[in-house]
Symmetry: C2
């Protein structure tokens, strides 16, 4: 009963904390309610559903990732910008794996809000590529390639798929980024031809 000034932000914030510390897998509304000294049913005064909460956390994650990426490329150009961007992405995935996972469980189909979130995902890499002489169409493709490499690498490492061989994972990561930069340079040549 003892009414506390529970904000919507408090709830999302607590949920994020719980997911980061206990893992996305074991997160539940009932535990969230418990942590807030509330019954699970009372949560529905603040959220519409578990899915909606999930989605909001996803937006938070995307905005955090974007922030880190934009900070990383500030004042940098070309390969230096790309490497710095990749590093920021990689670090985010490694340091906040549970929050990172939420991003991809987002149903990207739905509504308009998600469309702007889609823009947030794309913007940093598009900016980082600005120093290369590429056509707009090339950039649209390359943006996808970059995100594929980064996401693929992070999620496979997280899933433990990189334990097969006794070579340093960070070295593999650097090679992946170098591969993308090679592709950038190659595309640039093609655009100028």
């Amino acid at each position: 009963m003892a009414r506390q000034g529970l904000t919507h932000a408090d709830i999302i914030g607590t949920a994020i904390e719980m997911i980061e510390s206990e893992g996305l897998h074991s997160f539940s509304l009932r535990e969230l309610a418990g942590r807030l000294h509330i019954k699970a049913a009372s949560l529905y005064n603040h959220i519409r559903s578990s899915d909606e909460l999930h989605t909001e956390i996803g937006y938070y994650a995307i905005s955090e990732l974007k922030k880190a990426q934009l900070a990383a490329i500030a004042g940098k150009e070309r390969s230096e910008a790309i490497e710095s961007l990749a590093d920021a992405y990689y670090r985010f995935g490694k340091e906040r794996p549970e929050i990172y996972k939420v991003i991809l469980s987002l149903p990207m189909v739905k509504n308009d809000a998600i469309h702007s979130a889609g823009f947030d995902i794309v913007e940093p890499i598009m900016t980082a590529m600005a120093g290369y002489h590429l056509t707009r169409e090339q950039m649209m493709h390359l943006q996808r390639v970059f995100r594929s490499i980064m996401h693929g690498f992070i999620s496979q490492e997280e899933a433990g798929c990189f334990r097969q061989f006794p070579v340093d994972v960070v070295d593999s990561y650097r090679m992946a980024v170098r591969g993308f930069i090679l592709l950038l340079e190659n595309s640039e040549k093609e655009a100028q031809a």
Copy 2:
């Protein structure tokens, strides 16, 4: 009661069918039991747990993917082998997305059986790269890069993350594969230097 000759294979097979047609998300032991005309509790005469069933389906998926990949590279070399391998991988991910998802939810940490499954994942790409003059260590890294690109691309496309721009996703895919081949050629040069 009417005892039917329920095989372990029957159960896994039915589970796979259900996951492919209804989606991994909506799969449950109770529905599986229903489809087999059995009560959920009776399933435990055949499986140890939901997790174990999940894991076995993951092994199946890995072996299917491996089979498709090995068939794709048979009699091919160098870039042709790589492209063909990538196509087989891509096709698998697009045609059987739900089964593909099971692979990555596998906990790669655990036991020995998973270690051999890890080998199954790695073998096709290692074979496909055999035509390039690379050091063993280079191959270990490049194998990770390849799988990152492929998995990243497939899972992001599946998640709907590639709708931002009106450019063909298959074109983006080809660019990604071309990028990997560039990296292969570049690594080859370095190895020879």
